[in-house]
Symmetry: C2
Subunit: 368 residues, 2 copies
Amino acid sequence: MTSPQRPRKVGLDKLDGLELPAAADMHVHLRDGAMAEVVTPTIRKGGVNTVFVMPNLVPPITTVQHCLSYKAKLQVLEPNVTFLMSLYLHPNISPETVIEAKKAGITGIKSYPHGVTTHSDHGVLSYEPFYPVFSEMERQNMVLNLHGELPPSAGEDITVLNAEEAFLPTLLDLHQKFPKLRIILEHCTSEAALKAVASCGPNVAATITAHHLFLIVDDWAGDPHCFCKPVAKTPADRRALLRTVVSGNSKFFFGTDSAPHSAETKRADRFAAGVFTQPHAVGYVIDALEQGVEMGVLRAEEITRERLVGFLSKFGREFYQVPGESGERIVLEKPTGAVEEVLQSEDGRLQVVPFRQGKMTWGVRFKK
Amino acid sequence: MTSPQRPRKVGLDKLDGLELPAAADMHVHLRDGAMAEVVTPTIRKGGVNTVFVMPNLVPPITTVQHCLSYKAKLQVLEPNVTFLMSLYLHPNISPETVIEAKKAGITGIKSYPHGVTTHSDHGVLSYEPFYPVFSEMERQNMVLNLHGELPPSAGEDITVLNAEEAFLPTLLDLHQKFPKLRIILEHCTSEAALKAVASCGPNVAATITAHHLFLIVDDWAGDPHCFCKPVAKTPADRRALLRTVVSGNSKFFFGTDSAPHSAETKRADRFAAGVFTQPHAVGYVIDALEQGVEMGVLRAEEITRERLVGFLSKFGREFYQVPGESGERIVLEKPTGAVEEVLQSEDGRLQVVPFRQGKMTWGVRFKK
């Protein structure tokens, strides 16, 4: 990673001052309580005005009422963001819940395989019992969001490294069984996943985070702030992700999976999975593309305004069939400052360490 | 991992009360200062009376004088252990150093590739400049101890996961160039490494740790106390290690790579590599074999006294050509207590978290 001391190389200075539509971050963890109060106000700071909000609170959001009251709280914390909401796939959810959810303006239902990540204790063991739910979702034109990893219980050779690739047959099977169901393979991390999604029809898409554009397995070996699920994988996987971001393929769009945990639970004997990227969402993507150019994985010419607009804003909004960015524009500013060492609650009792703390990052501001 | 609450299954109760020669732990980090004072007295607690001591202090041990004064300090801390000593392969080391070291009773020279683990900043970038040193070691019948991982700088696709396998051609090359040089591939973690060592002549051996008999990548994903270099790898690698321990192949013997770090540096934004196993060295091996039986990887019948003696004591002493265990006997005792949550210095200021803290473990006592 670039240290703040090191002078910047060539990079992407051509993007300095570039105006873009406000970004859509189609996978965010905003939590609740004090953490939501710290995190939610940073959404716009990252250049984002539309988010798709994860439902893995404690307890998980499995009713329309819980979802709407959560949305109302978030809207108070940040009135100038569009919150797209989701339910947590769970035995509580019936086809009737789907109908009710659709009417209430809820956008998607998120599936967590049992036990693979933070607050997935209530996650799915088998998809088959949910087929009636998926059928109703297809009819209601709702989105199914998949955390695409097999749990360790699925086989003695399943590890954090191959759990995503091992899940891909499940993705393809669900797509075949419910071809009209819009499915998103969330936060995909492997070349195999990118290929599987690319091979599907237009109803299957994938989100790509900012941090997986930077990280490989070596980065989370020894650093709790770079540890997340799915884990970052090989250099080849990272290169494939970088290339996909600038490919112009509308099946792939931005979702940070920003997942804040208190510094206390990260500096611990067992630490939680999650990388916190919300306050610099768009900036990190530009940082990563700049690294990609420095590494020779990308050419600066490939990083065009059109491709950035597609990945950061347009493709996600189109897939979700949600209104555009309301004419809001953001402006990129070449790095002049470093990522905060920590963000904290007003009383200072809750601290969160952001990704690449202390490293230089591209600035993003909303145009007035 | 077994929780202390869970009642033990069948397991290896047949080993309860078994007498064995005291164990030889052919790879230990005893550190210096306060840490050495905490760790060194735990060697015998683990059933061990002979250790091969790593030289990666700060600064590293590159002179005979430094090595002997370090040995004297350790001997004061624990008079009833045989300390086999090593130098750190470094430009300071000349063929003359090798001759001097041999005369002083130093056993081996340890090579750390540059930048792969704790205190490897002075490590090797290329072996070729050391060929004259290796020639002299061959003449003097000294042991070359290899940390067998390529550093990330060796190639853009080298990661913590494949660094050991990528090092194997270097091992084979050194063995071919210096066929009479006794070489140990330290703490091997992969099936590929086991096969490579098995394929070499009798002058190449390998150590196997206790913790790699338990761990896979999933275990250090989220747990700083299970993170070490080389990192634990796949379930298949773990199974291969377990099978090798009970194989009776004298090329493979015990070396814990016990590597204590303060709890403070483990619960941190960047945490150090190393698993601390010294106080329960032999107990952990029996625990792991018991898990191997429970998992169906091993059969209880394979775990004979002869195989345990070979792996834990005989093969290592023979390879190092050092005197036996002085008639000292240890006795195995089936688990009745749990691993300490923490070990600490007398003033309580230095704390170290042992591997499998709080978990049940086989007991080991010296027979009086």
